[in-house]
């Protein structure tokens, strides 16, 4: 049976990581690259086999679980080390192994000059393995292992250039900020165990409608904690500050970890727990609000940055904001759809920016680029395609996915969410084309000593493939005439949720507790799918995207003096350029007090209190020993005397 191969998918990259980590220096760069990319390719092929096996499952069975071994047990609590395959997992598996493989290939070219090539690929493969564990684990604890594992690899890879202070700081920041979210996630898992007595996904999701009261306290707290976990990993307000700094890592890392896969883990987790979130309307409001706010805030910051990778980083934060918004209005399919298309075009954009940086010898400031179109045509065209996709120009993939998110924001949320989303879309089109125009068009501002050149084939081929995917990725979710699409039908078994049934259970439980159940009847009215509204919205958002592009064209091609005029001396602009001062605020509010308190604890409590006690004990024992050592004279007859005296005194005591 093909599904038996499931456990191999995370195993291949793990083996690759071990080989590269321990023997990488000895086997040479070529072998390291082949092992790293090869293990990802094997994972991808295995995923295809699993997909085929999954399609052959009997009708009505939508999940396959493979328990490798029982991890640990205590009392009636036991955790399996097991994998589960369902439609959602398969989608994520293809994104991680497919995009991961392409980026691995690219990285072989990009990292080729590095001495610790093998170290990079050991971490990179380990990351892929952990990410696969995260998405394939069949219980919360295994997901948590993957969750922590990817965070750890992210830390290693951000700090890859560890001789650079800023890279180390960025790594530490990412790790610590993530820890806040991880802690909340762990609390949520404990709470879930407390209520359900199990942490297996299938069992929890199955029992949730019967054990939790709709909009009750328990489910609200659980989902809020889970969401805090998601904000950490997926870089949402208030924990987004680590992601822009994470750009200190090598560019393939930014593409794979900080754009395509790891940062979408929060979205995946929310979709995985969609049953719980469906039961907590208050959390859903928080989720949607956070997503919309993040989308628009990150987009405004993205407009003002000059570092090419930072612009893309804020763009990532903003796009994940869309996904979270989609989750918040209950449009999980749209969230996953946008996740997939975003993985394609954002990976392409990051790799393209890496190609640019590679081509002009490590320069990242867009003010020192310009006119690169002619020097690197492949990079330019693939970059342009992906930019059109993210800006939302039909018929590229980003158009369909973003539009679906916005449509659901309006239909299932409210007009405010939609308004924020469409404004962010306008800003996205603007700042992405600002980036393209500043980098590839206009006068060249490149240093005269630098001769820009196109990257080697091993780097441009991945760009072409990803650009192709970014073009056609929309096929997954082209709205058909009755309003449904492929991805929706595919994910239906995972996302299926019977609200009426859950409300019945909740009412029953509330009656048993002697409380009056509120009327939830209005929740059950089915919403009409409005085809004309959807078409209108599509046209509208396409117009918005074009407006943004035209604006960028005017500002950065036609009248390059305009941006200067608009921004000079404007306090509003400076505020945005300084990222709203959030970093400084966090510094003052959290970092400094922590550092000072730690310093106090170190100097006073640790050095004086604890060390004092320990050293004092040792010293007093030393003093006693000085006295006692006089007994050990070395004279045998002395010892004999002690024995005799001791024996006699024992006799005297006993009788």
């Amino acid at each position: 049976m093909l599904l038996k191969l499931t456990c191999l998918v995370p195993l291949f990259p793990l083996i690759g990581s071990i080989i590269n980590g321990f023997f990488g220096l000895r086997i040479g760069k070529n072998a390291v690259g082949i092992i790293a990319a090869g293990s990802m390719a094997l994972s991808f092929l295995t995923s295809i086999l699993i997909f085929v096996g999954f399609l052959m499952l009997p009708e009505g069975q939508h999940v396959f679980e493979q328990v490798v071994w029982t991890w640990f047990g205590a009392g009636d609590f036991s955790v399996d080390f097991g994998f589960q395959v369902d439609p959602l997992t398969l989608v994520m598996m293809f994104v991680v192994t497919g995009v991961g493989f392409i980026i691995h290939v690219y990285a072989i070219g990009y990292m080729h000059e590095e001495f610790s090539f093998y170290r990079f690929f050991a971490y990179f493969n380990l990351f892929a393995s952990m990410m696969l564990l995260l998405i394939m684990g069949n219980n919360f604890l295994l997901m948590f292992i993957g969750w922590e594992g990817v965070g750890c690899c992210s830390y290693f890879l951000i700090g890859y250039y560890f001789e650079k202070k800023s890279a180390c700081d960025a790594g530490t920041k990412a790790f610590i900020v993530n820890r806040v979210g991880d802690f909340a996630f762990l609390l949520a898992v404990m709470y879930i165990f407390n209520i359900f007595g199990t942490i297996d996904f299938t069992e929890v999701m199955h029992a949730a409608p019967e054990k939790l009261i709709y909009a009750g306290e328990a489910v609200t707290i659980i989902t809020l904690l889970l969401f805090v976990g998601a904000t950490g990993k997926s870089a949402q307000i208030p924990l987004y500050t680590w992601l822009p700094d994470a750009m200190e890592g090598p560019t393939p890392v930014s593409a794979l970890i900080h754009a395509a896969t790891m940062v979408t883990a929060g979205v995946y987790m929310i979709v995985r727990c969609s049953v719980l979130f469906n039961l907590a309307p208050m959390t859903m409001m928080v989720v949607a609000g956070t997503g919309a706010a993040t989308a628009i805030m990150a987009a405004t910051i993205g407009m003002t940055q000059f570092d090419i990778k930072r612009v893309l980083a804020y763009s990532t934060v903003s796009q994940i904001g869309y996904m979270i918004l989609a989750c918040g209005v209950g449009a999980y399919t749209a969230a996953i759809f946008h996740l997939v298309t975003h993985a394609f075009f954002k990976a392409c954009l990051f790799l393209g920016s890496g190609s640019v940086i590679h081509g002009i010898h490590g320069e990242q400031d867009m003010r020192k680029m310009g006119g690169l179109k002619n020097y690197m045509p492949v990079t330019y065209w693939t970059f342009l395609v992906s930019t059109l996709a993210i800006a939302g120009i039909p018929p590229l993939s980003g158009f369909f996915s973003k539009d679906e998110v916005l449509y659901h924001a309006l239909m299932d949320g409210n007009i405010i969410f939609w308004g924020m989303g469409i404004s962010a879309a306008l800003l996205t089109a603007f700042y992405m084309f600002r980036l393209v125009f500043m980098t590839f068009h206009g006068e060249s501002r490149v240093d005269p000593d630098v001769h820009p050149h196109e990257s080697p084939k091993v780097m441009t081929m991945p760009l072409v493939i990803l650009a192709g995917l970014a073009t056609v990725g929309g096929i997954l979710g082209i709205p058909l005439f009755h309003g449904w699409h492929i991805l929706h039908n595919w994910l239906e078994p995972v996302l299926h949720f019977d609200l009426a049934n859950a409300l019945d259970h909740s009412k029953h439980m509330l009656h048993e507790a002697g409380q009056h159940a509120p009327s939830w009847a209005h929740l059950l009215n089915p919403k009409e799918h409005n085809l004309w509204l959807e078409i209108f919205l599509m046209a509208f958002s396409a117009c918005v995207a074009i407006t943004g592009i035209v604006a960028a064209y005017i500002f950065y091609i036609k009248r390059p003096d305009l941006p200067e005029k608009f921004t000079k001396g404007q306090w509003g602009f400076e505020l945005v350029q300084n990222k709203y001062g959030v970093d400084e605020l966090y510094d003052e509010a959290f970092v400094k007090p922590t550092v000072e308190a730690s310093h106090l604890l170190w100097k006073e409590c640790d050095a004086k209190g604890i060390d004092g006690t320990v050293i004092g004990t040792a010293k007093s024992i030393g003093w006693l020993s000085e006295r006692a050592r006089a007994f050990q004279s070395g004279f045998v007859r002395n010892y004999a005397l002690f024995i005799a005296v001791g024996f006699i005194s024992l006799l005297l005591i006993m009788f």
């Binding site: 050990q632 004279s633 070395g634 004279f635 045998v636 007859r637």
Partner: protein
């Protein structure tokens, strides 16, 4: 128990006297050989009391045990004398107080 035999107390007194002689010998003499002989005296003092009790209680355990002690004593003599010879080769003396290196 008939008249004319030596009572248990006498044996025990002899044993005690020998034992104390042994202890004092160990403690006060400096000659290694003499100290060694004193240890042997102590062992034999114990043997006397073992056999005396044995006879008094009509048992055989003590006799067996005294053989055991003799065997151990013989073994100990061989090891002990070897040590003494080794000591003597290192230092041309048999004075115990000269051998005080084993200390901290």
């Amino acid at each position: 128990m008939f008249e004319g035999t030596v009572p248990l107390e006498h044996y025990l007194a002899l044993s005690a006297v020998l034992f104390v002689i042994g202890i004092v010998g160990v403690l006060v003499r400096r000659n290694v050989i003499v100290v060694f002989m004193s240890v042997e005296i102590m062992l034999n003092a114990v043997n006397i009391s073992l056999i005396a009790f044995d006879n008094y209680l009509n048992l055989t355990n003590g006799q067996i045990f005294s053989f055991m002690v003799m065997c151990v004593a013989a073994a100990e003599v061989s090891v002990g004398l070897a040590i003494i010879i080794a000591l003597h080769r290192n230092k041309p003396t048999v004075n115990l107080d000269e051998f005080n290196l084993l200390k901290w």
